[in-house]
Symmetry: C2
Amino acid sequence: MEVLRTVAEARARSEAWRCEGLSVGLVPTMGALHEGHLSLVRRAREECDRTVVSIFVNPLQFAPGEDSRARVAGLDEVLEGECRPGHFEGVATVVLKLFNAVRPRRAYFGQKDGQQARLVGRLARDLDTGVEVVVCATVREPDGLALSSRNAYLRGPERAAARCLVRALTAANARWLGGERDAAALARAMREVLAAEPLASVDYAAVVDEQSFRGPGRLAVVAVRIGRTRLIDNHPLGEPLPV
Amino acid sequence: MEVLRTVAEARARSEAWRCEGLSVGLVPTMGALHEGHLSLVRRAREECDRTVVSIFVNPLQFAPGEDSRARVAGLDEVLEGECRPGHFEGVATVVLKLFNAVRPRRAYFGQKDGQQARLVGRLARDLDTGVEVVVCATVREPDGLALSSRNAYLRGPERAAARCLVRALTAANARWLGGERDAAALARAMREVLAAEPLASVDYAAVVDEQSFRGPGRLAVVAVRIGRTRLIDNHPLGEPLPV
């Protein structure tokens, strides 16, 4: 393993690899690495000759004096985009900077942050980056909780309460497998589960299209605050939820 | 000369050149080539091993279904940005697509479109494109009119009337060389010249900072409609205006 500390180093190293005919995979992270990130790294190592893992944490997203931004109209307006104004513009811009520095053949994102993965995929295509965005299945704890760096913030009974997200997805999945196709009924099933958890405060629970993240569709999405920790999860209805 | 018709071809050819250790220069154009474009091509050929001239004309700027955009905050709000809402977002996005396809070492823009050149330079830096933006001096007709594809639209007496832009810049330059430093007085000198031309309708005439395109500064900028043709020009005050 080699540590690259500057954009210039990353650019030079990646270019040298490409010129040797080696394909480069990128796994963008914000640190706090967990098994979910490692699943992305394993997939990248399977599919690419060289894998770059970036660690970039900047609470302000941008240094002073940097005014350029990228946005992905439509996808950045709903659900996560609505709950976190400016969030996806920051994501799109940082991802573009990473793509420009590393110029990978493929970049790996987790299905847990499904809307982000879709948005980055569209950005990569629209701006002719030449990067293929690969979305990898969510990795879960044995009790079903989706892995997230934020899980570390859960205190005492909050950890058990956080299971309500996957329980809600499971309830919607059971209805779907039972033949229910009405998005409102499926969302109601999720909200009933979430309402039964006193530590949970729901941001959204919906069934949307996997491309547009607007309804109707077959992707169940949920965002919940457990105490001060905001968690998200999603599941393509009809597929097994291994809990 | 070789004609590349797809993004994939441009990407592959440019990558092959880079891997041979050859530097690539890019001259983005919208066609309607004139001597100003050729001055950019000559400069690129002097400084780079290979030169790519792109011709991309799309009145809609984007194909349907492409939602990703880039913008450069601040610079896209004043003068040209104010007169042409959305224009610079379109420019920034198309330039980013060209940069991603060709991945040049340097890209060449004309000082005539000074605000665009400055905006692209900031975009290139902020997004870690690795592209050096080179700004080349404005090429002028013998009577001082800045070369522009739009000059072809000037009909009959409009061609002579269009000289009012460079006459206005010359008037501001004369005041500056005479010691005048008050931006309002310099702008007034320009407006007096423009007001004397009956075919001219002024969008703006100002003296601004070369980086921010806000006042005060030493860059005289002017935008004027001659009949249905909108023309722009600018001059760094204190430097000779070869008319």
